[in-house]
Symmetry: C2
Subunit: 160 residues, 2 copies
Amino acid sequence: MTTRTNETEITVDPDVPLVRITREFDAPPAKVFRAHTDPELFVQWNGPRSVESRIDHWDCRTGGSWRYVGSRDADEFGFHGSFHEVRPTELIVQTFTFEGMPDGVALEKLAFEDLGGGRTRIVATSLVDSFEDRDAFVASGMEGGVREGYERLDELLAKG
Amino acid sequence: MTTRTNETEITVDPDVPLVRITREFDAPPAKVFRAHTDPELFVQWNGPRSVESRIDHWDCRTGGSWRYVGSRDADEFGFHGSFHEVRPTELIVQTFTFEGMPDGVALEKLAFEDLGGGRTRIVATSLVDSFEDRDAFVASGMEGGVREGYERLDELLAKG
């Protein structure tokens, strides 16, 4: 099986202002989890290829917080949030703010499901308090960045 | 004007799984804000009179976290979360988990509006990812605890 078979599914919930992203990886949960919690690994795959991520602050534990800066050419954009819960190899619950919209905040849950055979399914949800904000987020082109980021993660996981 | 005129309004949003609490206080924003951020003041008014609150951990700043324990007779119940943003005298954005339901989490926003004349309106929203969870929270009797807590806060603010 090659990583090409792993499709990213992005759906908007019909009932609540939430986006749900589902993706499988050809690596066990502990390894996929670590790529999300180790800042040196995280910056190697997060976001589209055209954006370079730099960690400003990263304290990945229940009650910790994080901030990173993405840069593309001369543009920089910051993101920050809190780690509400970090449950090793299973779950990350965090808040997320894009600093270009400093009053916006999403509650994100990232669940890692063990599919057996060294494979993992991620189910990531992002909840905001209005359908307008949810739909503007989806319309902003996040989809391409998410798919490309997960392709980069496939490559990183394949390295060993 | 006496504090008796200040009514707590609790409404459920028809469109999103959110509870909105609105309450006015006969004290300026800086003072009402401090009663929410100073742990020694917070435990004096939080929750119903029958419950004693004890701070376990309290780091009230953007990126900090908190935990307190409520006790009533022999029963103890913990609550914890992260301070996503603390914007002095204006806004607190935080996460909230009741440890009796450890997989549940709410995203809370607490805005302090200056009404002038030494008065403040609080608008507190609590967002979860399902209507079932939102409605179970409201049905759990939170309303009485919130109203009684705010009466205790009136009394604390009146002390000077």
